[in-house]
Symmetry: C2
Subunit: 197 residues, 2 copies
DNA sequence: ATTTGCAGGTAAATATTATTTACCTCTGAC
DNA sequence: GTCAGAGGTAAATAATATTTACCTGCAAAT
């Protein structure tokens, strides 16, 4: 009775759902407000009732996806001890998310970073939250002697993030398949042990 | 007498130059044809004389940048022996390019990957060429025993590329400073030796 | 039982931008 | 000399995003 008291109007839900559907098929730029309204079965004006503009709708869709992602991440990390083990898990979970939620991957990898407003959006706030989680694990690893202490944590984070994202880019763009387990195993190994023989 | 016989018309040059200038200040999406024409001091119609559309102009600007980059890379690699040394150099050169040519970095990291046409553009052809160079170095390193032989070359390439790009993202987006030498040293070390103690 | 405020929704006007069209003007090869 | 074609312009048109004014049903407050 106390949770989700807020009833979300049917029209708004249809708009969000239409956006998700269309983003699976086409790029954000190529979608018109009229496309979205038609797919949702509402009028164009209604979109502006709930969202500031087209981009605001995009950010909302990303925010919903990211909320699910963060819930899953928190859950996945439960009961795992040690920075290496946590890192292994977080890499696996991230790849799994990018691989199995292509719209999510496309939005975050390709569609949002080119606008200023994104960096003021709620969605970006969640991304920063994820960043902090990852950074905590890295610092824990350094403090506990599992990771090297002569690499700046921010660089480690960039390497992890960057490697994962780049490895999932072809999936997002060309729909090339990704094997989550294999990718996670290789990327974790590569990052932990390096490429030098 | 045989090279650069082609005279590029003044208007076209001004358009390209205007695009570069504007991209340093604002995002691609926020630029209008009328902005570009005004900055270039030409009429809007002329832009369409030389470029298919706004994106085609963007791809052209990227192509010019990438040509310079490739020339520099080929030069930088001259006389360097060994895969590790070549890798070290290519990482340094890439970071240097992203750090000192912010428009280039912004275009490639933020503006082009969200459109289908990009992947048919000449600019993308050059990116693939760079990819091949990097992949060759990796294969050389594996064959020569400098790199581990149990990591797929494509993953190694993604890790290198992804780490570099992610490390330069904040520079591209927020204009945060990057120290090329420091970044190159740390990233190379991290990728070669891994993050595990 | 009315009224009334207001959330959900529509339809059409307007504003903004991209793109096309028709034309003008100079120049250098024939 | 002319004339084809490159460089360029101005204005019309098309495509889209956004705003405006309005309609409708319904859950309180009177």
């Amino acid at each position: 009775m106390k949770k989700t008291e807020v009833i979300i109007p049917a029209g708004k839900l249809k708009i969000i759902e239409a956006m998700r559907t269309l983003l699976d098929e086409r790029t954000f730029e190529s979608l018109t407000i009229s496309d979205i309204a038609a797919t949702a079965g509402v009028t164009e004006g209604l979109i502006y009732k709930y969202f500031k503009d087209k981009r605001d709708l995009l950010h909302h869709v990303l925010k919903e996806h990211y909320e699910h992602f963060l819930v899953q991440i928190e859950r996945d990390l439960q009961g795992i001890d040690g920075a290496v083990n946590k890192l292994r898990k977080i890499i696996w979970s991230s790849i799994e998310r990018y691989a199995n939620h292509r719209v999510f991957a496309r939005i975050i990898l390709l569609e949002v970073r080119n606008s200023e407003e994104y960096f003021n959006s709620e969605a970006y706030g969640l991304v920063k939250q994820f960043n902090r989680i990852l950074l905590e694990i890295i610092k824990e690893g350094i403090a506990g002697g599992e990771f090297r202490d002569n690499l700046p944590p921010a660089y480690i984070r960039n390497a992890i993030f960057g490697t994962i994202e780049h490895s999932c880019l072809n999936r997002a763009i060309f729909n090339e398949p990704v094997s989550t387990n294999e990718a996670a195993r290789i990327i974790t190994d590569l990052l932990l042990n390096g490429i030098k023989r």
